[in-house]
Amino acid sequence: MLSLRNLHARVGEREILKGLSLEIPAGEVHAIMGPNGAGKSTLSYVLTGRPGYEVTSGTAELDGADLLTLAPDERAARGLFLSFQYPLEIPGVPALTFIRTSVNAQRKARGEVEMSAPDFLKRARACAADLKMDFDMLKRPLNVGFSGGEKKRMEILQMALLSPRFMILDETDSGLDIDALRIVSEGVNALRSPDRSLLVITHYQRLLDYIRPDRVHVLAGGRIVASGGPELAHELERDGYDKFARAA
C-alpha cells in the first residue's frame, strides 16, 4: 500500500526528514510515536503534499504510484486522507456543503458519478449518529466555534464520508476527553478493513489501547529508529524516548 524509501524533506533551509523508510501493507495499522520535533507532522504534510514541505530525495508510493508528483487534491482523490492535528475553520461554508463538495470533487476526479444529495444526507446522518454528533452541527460553518474535541470528531466524520484507502491520523487524541476518545476510536476502527491502511501519529500509548496497531515505529531525528509490535508502545510509555533520541 504505502511505501516510503529513504525520504529526505526540508522546510525552508531546515532538513527535517533525514532518510525515512517505511512500508505499510494493505489492511494494517501502523503507529508512529516520537518526541516533539522528531518530524511526525512533517511526515504527514510531506505525504499529503503541503506547499513548503520540499522533498529533496527518496520516494513515496501509494499502491505503486508516485505520490510526490501529484497535487494535494490528486493525492486525496487516490484515497489519501489526513485527519489534521489542528483542523481549520471554514467560515460561511456549512460542514455538510463542504463535505459533499469534497466527496463529489473526489468522485469526479476518479471518473465516478456524483453522489446525490439525498444519498449523501442519509449517509451523513448515519455517520453523525455513530460519532454521537448532533446533526444540526453539520449545518453550521465547518469547525467555526467548535471545541477542540468537536473538531476532531468532525475530522473523523469527514474521513468516514470520504472513505479513503489510506488514512493518517495526526494526534487525533489531543484535546479529547476519555469518552470522546472512545467514540472517535470506535469510529476509526469501524473503517478498518483488509484493503485500507492507517497511520496513527501520537505521543501517547493511550490512543493505541483503543486503536490497536499492528506495528509501532519510533521516529526520532527525522528517521525511523526502532520498529516493533504493540509492546513497543508500552515500553516507550514506561521508559520515554530518551534512548531513541540518543540513538538518532
Binding site: G52, D73, L88, P91, R100, K139
Partner: protein, 489 residues
C-alpha cells in the same frame, strides 16, 4: 445554503468575461461633444416637455462650473468630456415597444445575456419561466419593459424614465432630484443634464408589488457613455424588490457610466434594491479599457418606520466610485447595506455607504465584504452619522476584507459622527489574507486550488449573497467565481 452549494460544479466551463460581445445593430447617435445643444438634442429625442429641458439645462450650467472629485482612492487620466457621445439608441427604438415590435437582434442579445424578456411564456403558464418584470435599457434607451399590464392592474407603475416624464409628469416633477439634488456632486450633476434612460417605479399605498422588478443595463455602442436615471417611489405601506444588472462589450477605450438612482420611501414602506454589476473590467494585464462606474445612489426614508436595503455585488468596471446611501429621516426608519466588492486584475474600487441618521430611533446595518486579487485596489469608505435629534440611533458595521495574492491592496476608511450622546454605533473590521493553511486543508479534501479558492470566497461572501433574491443569488455566485479566475498560482 443552496447558493453556496453548487458553485464548484457550475464554475467549470464558464468563460472569463462572457458578456464582452457587441451587437451589430443600426444605431443613431448624438453629435460628439457636450454643450447646450447636446442637452437639447437628448431632450428632443425623448419628446420631453419644456420643464424637463429647463431642468437639464440648469444642471448643465451648474456642472460646467464644477470640478471632478479627487478624494477617492482611485486614479485615472482626466476624462475629455467633449470626446464622447451622450446619446446612442437602436434606430428602431423611439421608446419602449411591445415585445413583438422589438428588433429580433436586440431580443437575441438579451437572450444571450440570459435576461428573460419572454413574458408570454409566463402568461401562457410555461413551467419554470422566470416570473419577474424587466426593463431592458440598451445604451441610451429602454427597448422594452415586460409585465407592464399585469403590474398596472394592481396600480404599480413600472416604465422607462423617458416614458414616465411624458406619462406621469406630476410624479416625476414631485420627486425627481429631491433625494440627489442636481448639484449633489460632479457626476450626479452631469447625469442630471444628459441622463438618458433608466427605470421609473411607483408603488401605490398599501400595495405589495406582486413580482420582482428588474432593469438590465447594457452598454453596446463604442465611444458613448451611459447615464441612467432611476426613480423608485414606495408610497405608504408599499413594498417592492428591485434588481439591476449591467454588462458591456470588451473595448480598449474607457467608457463612462454615471448613473443616479433615487429611492423615496413614505411611511411604513419598504424597498429592497439589489445590484449585480458586471461591467467590463478592462484587460487584467494592461488595465486597458473597461467601464468607469461613477454612480450616485441614495434612498430617502421620509416616512416613519420605512425600511430600505441596498444589496450590491460589484465585480466589474475598471473603476467603481459608488456609495449607495440611506437618509433615515422618518422615526424608527431602517437602512441596510450589504456589499460584495471584488477587484481583480487592475481594477480599482472605492465603494461603501452613508447612513445618515436624522430621525429618532433609526437603525442601520452595514455588512461589507471586499475581496482584492491580482494587482487591484479595493477601498471601503463609509459614513455613519447621527444628528442631534436622532436619539437612540443604532448602527452596526461589519467590514471584512480578503486579500488574494501579494500585489493587491485593501483599505477601510470609516467615518463616524455622533452628534448626540444617545446613539450606539458598533464597528467591526477585519482584513485577512486568503490563508495557505485553509487552502491546503480544502485541497487535502479533494478540491483543486481554484475550486478551493472559490469555496473559501463563497464562504466569505455568503452572508451578503443570502440577501439577494433567490433567482439572482446563483447568478451572483457564478459571477464571483468568474471574477476571481486566475487569481491564484
Amino acid at each position: 445554503m443552496t447558493a453556496v452549494k453548487d458553485t464548484v460544479e457550475q464554475v467549470a466551463g464558464l468563460e472569463k468575461y462572457e458578456h464582452g460581445f457587441v451587437t451589430d445593430i443600426e444605431q443613431e447617435f448624438a453629435p460628439r461633444g457636450l454643450n447646450r445643444d447636446t442637452v437639447a438634442f437628448i431632450s428632443a429625442k425623448k419628446g420631453e416637455p419644456d420643464w424637463m429641458l429647463a431642468w437639464r439645462l440648469e444642471a448643465f450650467e451648474r456642472w460646467s462650473a464644477m470640478e471632478s472629485p479627487d478624494w477617492a482612492r482611485v486614479s485615472f487620466p482626466p476624462i475629455d468630456y467633449q470626446d464622447a457621445t451622450y446619446y446612442a439608441a437602436p434606430r428602431t427604438g423611439g421608446g419602449p415597444l411591445s415585445l413583438d415590435e422589438v428588433d429580433p437582434e436586440l431580443l437575441k442579445t438579451y437572450e444571450k445575456l440570459g435576461i428573460p424578456l419572454r413574458e408570454q411564456e409566463v402568461l401562457a403558464g410555461v413551467v419554470g419561466a422566470p416570473r419577474y418584470a424587466v426593463d431592458a435599457v440598451f445604451d441610451s434607451v429602454s427597448v422594452v419593459t415586460t409585465f407592464k399590464k399585469e403590474l398596472a392592474e394592481v396600480g404599480v407603475i413600472f416604465c422607462s424614465m423617458s416614458e414616465a416624464v411624458r406619462e406621469h409628469p406630476e410624479l416625476v416633477r414631485k420627486y425627481l432630484g429631491t433625494v440627489v439634488p442636481v448639484t449633489d456632486n460632479f457626476f450626479a450633476c452631469l447625469n442630471s443634464a444628459v441622463f438618458s434612460d433608466g427605470s421609473f417605479v411607483y408603488v401605490p399605498p398599501g400595495v405589495r408589488c406582486p413580482m420582482e422588478l428588474s432593469t438590465y443595463f447594457r452598454i453596446n455602442a463604442a465611444g458613448s457613455g451611459q447615464f441612467e436615471r432611476t426613480l423608485i417611489i414606495a408610497d405608504k405601506g408599499a413594498y417592492v424588490s428591485y434588481l439591476e444588472g449591467c454588462t458591456a462589450p470588451m473595448r480598449d477605450e474607457n467608457q463612462l457610466h454615471a448613473a443616479v438612482v433615487e429611492l423615496i420611501l413614505l411611511e411604513d414602506a419598504e424597498i429592497k434594491y439589489s445590484t449585480v454589476q458586471n461591467w467590463y473590467p478592462g484587460d487584467p494585464e494592461t488595465g486597458k479599457g473597461g467601464i468607469y462606474n461613477f454612480v450616485t445612489k441614495r434612498a430617502d426614508c421620509r416616512g416613519d418606520r420605512s425600511r430600505v436595503s441596498w444589496t450590491q455585488v460589484e465585480t466589474g468596471s475598471a473603476i467603481t466610485w459608488k456609495y449607495p446611501s440611506c437618509v433615515l429621516r422618518g422615526r424608527e426608519s431602517v437602512g441596510e447595506f450589504y456589499s460584495i466588492a471584488i477587484t481583480n486584475g487592475r481594477q480599482q474600487a472605492d465603494t461603501g455607504t452613508k447612513m445618515i441618521h436624522l430621525g429618532e430611533g433609526t437603525r442601520s446595518r452595514i455588512i461589507s465584504k471586499g475581496i482584492s486579487a491580482g494587482r487591484s485596489s479595493n477601498t471601503y469608505r463609509g459614513l455613519v452619522s447621527a444628528h442631534p435629534k436622532a436619539k437612540g440611533a443604532r448602527n452596526f458595521t461589519q467590514c471584512d476584507s480578503l486579500l488574494i495574492g501579494k500585489a493587491c491592496a485593501a483599505h477601510t476608511v470609516p467615518y463616524i459622527e455622533a452628534r448626540n450622546g444617545a446613539c450606539t454605533f458598533e464597528h467591526e473590521a477585519t482584513t485577512t489574507r486568503l490563508s495557505e493553511d485553509q487552502l491546503f486543508y480544502v485541497q487535502q479534501r479533494g478540491l483543486s486550488e481554484e475550486e478551493a479558492v472559490q469555496l473559501l470566497v463563497n464562504g466569505f461572501v455568503r452572508e451578503v449573497l443570502q440577501e439577494l433574491p433567490m433567482e439572482f443569488a446563483v447568478e451572483a455566485q457564478k459571477l464571483v467565481a468568474i471574477s476571481l479566475e486566475g487569481s491564484v498560482g
